[in-house]
């Protein structure tokens, strides 16, 4: 095993991640305004910004889904119980004792099991939920003639808001966990440069050297 700086976040993934960060922050901010939690942006411009950002995010997700499927990177999110307990135990107890993170990143498995599970849940449940409720809400006028449309709209809108709270919760925990390791900068840097320190087996190292030299620095 050798520790090497390996590019594990290709350009598209970083673009996707940071665009998503920006769009989600815009959506949370304008969404809170539209919901009446603050009045920092006038309602009309807030609606425009929220809708535009949401549509942009949907387009981004379509590209991201395509990317995950075609590059096989979706495998990073396959749930596993291997090491899950250790990671959970680290966050709950060992971190206070100054222990090191138990998970060693592999180049074919860049997320720890808890992280992968969280992202999977986010992608399979929360994001589709906000997406679907948002689109159903946005297209209200196509189904307004349904009986109980008034009640249905209220339910859809409230689900949308509830999911938004859950996504905001994710953002907070996600950002906080960047501090749980060597340092905040150490955690953020790979998502900017694409490179992270990875344990490579000699075979992996040899393969990368021979076939994907650009991924090694």
């Amino acid at each position: 095993m050798t520790e090497r700086l390996v590019k594990i976040y290709p350009a598209f993934e970083r673009f996707w991640h940071w665009s998503q960060v920006l769009l989600i922050l815009v959506l949370l901010f304008t969404g809170m305004g539209l919901h009446g939690l603050h009045g920092l942006v006038p309602f009309g411009p807030a609606v425009m910004l929220h809708t535009t950002a949401a549509l942009a995010l949907v387009v981004l997700w379509i590209f991201a889904i395509f990317w995950h499927l075609t590059t096989g990177t979706w495998r990073h999110y396959m749930p596993t119980t291997q090491g899950l307990f250790k990671v959970a135990r680290f966050y709950a107890f060992d971190i206070f004792k100054g222990a090191h993170h138990p998970y060693r990143k592999a180049y074919w498995r860049k997320h720890n099991p808890l992280q992968a599970l969280t992202y999977l849940a986010l992608k399979l449940f929360l994001f589709p939920a906000i997406w679907v409720t948002g689109i159903v809400y946005l297209t209200y006028n196509f189904w307004e003639q349904q009986p109980n449309a008034t009640l249905l709209l209220e339910i859809v809108a409230n689900l949308h808001v509830l999911v938004a709270y859950l996504i905001a919760t994710f953002v907070i925990v996600h950002v906080y966990l960047l501090t749980a390791g060597e340092s905040f900068v150490q955690h953020v840097k790979p998502m900017i440069t694409g490179f992270d320190t990875i344990d490579l087996t000699p075979e992996e190292e040899a393969y990368l050297k021979a076939d994907e030299p650009g991924r090694l620095s």
């Binding site: 305004g33 539209l34 919901h35 009446g36 939690l37 009045g39 006038p42 309602f43 009309g44 609606v47 425009m48 809708t51 535009t52 966050y91 971190i95 206070f96 004792k97 100054g98 209200y140 006028n141 307004e144 003639q145 109980n148 449309a149 008034t150 709209l153 209220e154 809108a157 409230n158 808001v161 509830l162 938004a164 709270y165 859950l166 905001a168 919760t169 907070i172 925990v173 906080y176 501090t179 749980a180």
Partner: protein
């Protein structure tokens, strides 16, 4: 959708083609004979070149050519003052209803019927005059601006000799009318014709409607984008289109949600709705904002956003009328107070011995309600609950019926007489300078009510009191230029204009519900967890170092 867009394109093309000659015509108007563009110059007709001794004589002359006109007018609500509601079956119209202003027409005829589109309706119960010559052609068709009606002569104009102190229906000093000149000037009705009656309903300028005042004779564009000379310079009948002297538009049976729009090219639609000209998707559909605004038209009437306030332009409307204080005298004589100062400096009555206390308002924010167009009146035969505010006209609608939209109203607050035993609203006899029962002459409620109830032949116990009332007037005139339309946050805010409307979800208005509580609890728990976790890490690490 595709088809609709095609129609819109075709309609726009036709409008353009139609508008082009109209503009050319306007430019050449000075050079063309006959200012009105009509094919007839009425000043050339021999039959109109003679001295007329009365209104009916003029009408007879009109009818020699316009043979069907009187019959048409006499079948319209302008003439009958009667309307049978197609849904509720209620007998409505001025000859039947009780309102929150002067109350009722019956027993006050020569004053109230001064605005009748005819001559000599002296008694409500007899119905309008039968003779075709009793139709008043001039009040609608005079374009000389000299024709008027006396305020107490059952619709007759002031003729030489005019009695001293006589006034017209607009409250102006009466001048003798030159009937021949008026007859020779006839043309299509202008704002001035309709306004003489409709701007002065309820006994004065803008008293009744709130959105119909003398300001509309020549409004600034900011007051009325349609009627302003700087705007479309439209007249009333451009929207209130006529078919055989019957006009589109009704306050008793409102088209609260027009889903047809402009109709097919060339199709005639006898409605006065905004949609009949502007279509059912009136905002710019190529923009996101326009699409979002078009999303609103199913639930929000055009008027709600586009008439931000009523009684604009400098003429106030009466907002409160308390009859219960009427009849107070000073030294045995009626008196008045003028405490309200209009924006033009004019003082308006806030108390009259004849009418009680008033309040006025300018630039009034409307009252908003779900409205499906149905209006039901509390007529004299209905039993009221005097412990509550009586709704003189109940407007119906709900967010769930699929038909209603949010509409703006002037909500008139009144305090009116009712029968304490029978719990009915009562009629009152106020006008009648010669009688010893008229309230405005004798200041005696019991005589006034008794006389009116006997007059209409309704039961009356003899005991009366006063009850608070509300009367609703749909606001639909004084449409502002689009730049002045309400901002989104006028309604989409916690304390916005629709804060009191319940039973439907509206973003921005109702934060703090159960979902917010759950969501906020989760969010706060996460924040607390994160902070606790961080603090614990810091403390433990420091402890470790120590």
């Amino acid at each position: 959708m595709r088809r609709r867009r095609n129609w819109r394109g075709i309609a726009a093309a036709i409008l353009f083609l139609a508008a082009t000659p109209a503009c050319a015509q306007a430019q050449n108007e000075a050079a063309m004979p006959g200012a009105s563009g009509s094919t007839a110059d009425h000043s050339a007709f021999e039959i109109l070149k003679k001295p007329f001794a009365s209104g009916p004589e003029v009408t007879e002359a009109c009818l020699t050519c316009h043979t069907e006109a009187a019959k048409q007018v006499m079948s319209s609500i302008h003439w009958t003052w009667t309307y049978t509601h197609p849904t509720t079956g209620q007998q409505l119209g001025k000859s039947h209803v009780i309102n929150a202003f002067c109350g009722n027409v019956a027993s006050n005829e020569p004053r109230c019927t001064s605005c009748h589109a005819g001559y000599g309706w002296e008694k409500m119960a007899d119905g309008p005059p039968k003779a075709q010559s009793a139709v008043d052609c001039l009040v609608c068709h005079d374009t000389s601006g000299t024709y008027s009606k006396l305020d107490n002569a059952a619709g007759n104009p002031p003729l030489t000799p005019v009695p001293a102190g006589a006034k017209t229906i607009t409250g102006a000093p009466a001048k003798p009318v030159d009937l021949a000149m008026a007859a020779q000037s006839v043309g299509l009705p202008r704002r001035e014709n309709c306004g003489q009656c409709h701007f002065y309903g309820g006994g004065g300028d803008n008293v009744k409607h709130g959105d119909l005042s003398s300001v509309l004779y020549n409004p600034d564009k900011s007051v009325d984008v349609h009627m302003s000379k700087d705007g479309a310079n439209m007249v009333c009948s451009d929207c209130h289109v006529t078919n055989r002297h019957v006009w589109a538009g009704s306050r008793y049976n409102v088209t609260a949600h027009d889903m047809i729009g402009t109709g097919k090219p060339g199709e005639r639609r006898d409605v006065a709705t905004c949609e009949s000209c502007h279509g059912t998707a009136p905002h710019e559909s190529a923009s996101l904002m326009g699409m979002k605004l078009n999303d609103h038209v199913d639930r929000v009437a055009c008027q709600t956003c586009h008439i931000p306030e009523f009684a604009r332009g400098g003429v106030a409307t009466k907002t409160v009328w308390d009859w219960s204080t009427a009849g107070k005298l000073k030294d045995g004589k009626p008196y008045s107070e003028e405490e309200f100062v209009q924006s033009d400096g004019k003082h308006l009555h806030t108390y009259l011995s004849t009418k009680g206390n008033f309040e006025w308002g300018e630039d009034v924010v409307p009252f908003y309600a779900w409205f499906n167009g149905q209006v039901e009146y509390t007529t004299g035969d209905q039993t009221i609950d005097p412990t509550r505010v009586v709704e003189i006209n109940r407007i119906s609608g709900s967010p769930d019926d699929g038909k209603s939209r949010i509409w703006p109203f002037k909500r008139m607050e009144g305090r009116q007489a009712y029968d304490k035993q029978l719990n009915h609203l009562v009629y009152n006899h106020v006008y009648g300078p010669e009688t010893d029962t008229a309230f405005w002459t004798n200041f005696d409620w019991s005589k006034s009510i008794k006389a009116a109830m006997d007059y209409v032949g309704e039961p009356y116990s003899g005991e009366f009191d006063f009850v608070d009332t509300h009367m609703y007037w749909p606001i639909t005139h004084m449409v502002a230029p689009k730049e002045q339309a309400l901002d989104c946050e006028s309604c989409h805010a916690k304390d916005g204009r629709l804060a009191n409307l319940a039973g439907f979800y509206m973003p921005g208005r109702d934060p703090g519900g159960p979902v917010d509580k759950i969501g906020l609890a989760i969010l706060l728990a996460a924040i607390a967890g994160v902070i606790g976790h961080a603090v614990l890490r810091l403390v433990m690490r420091r402890g470790g170092h120590a």
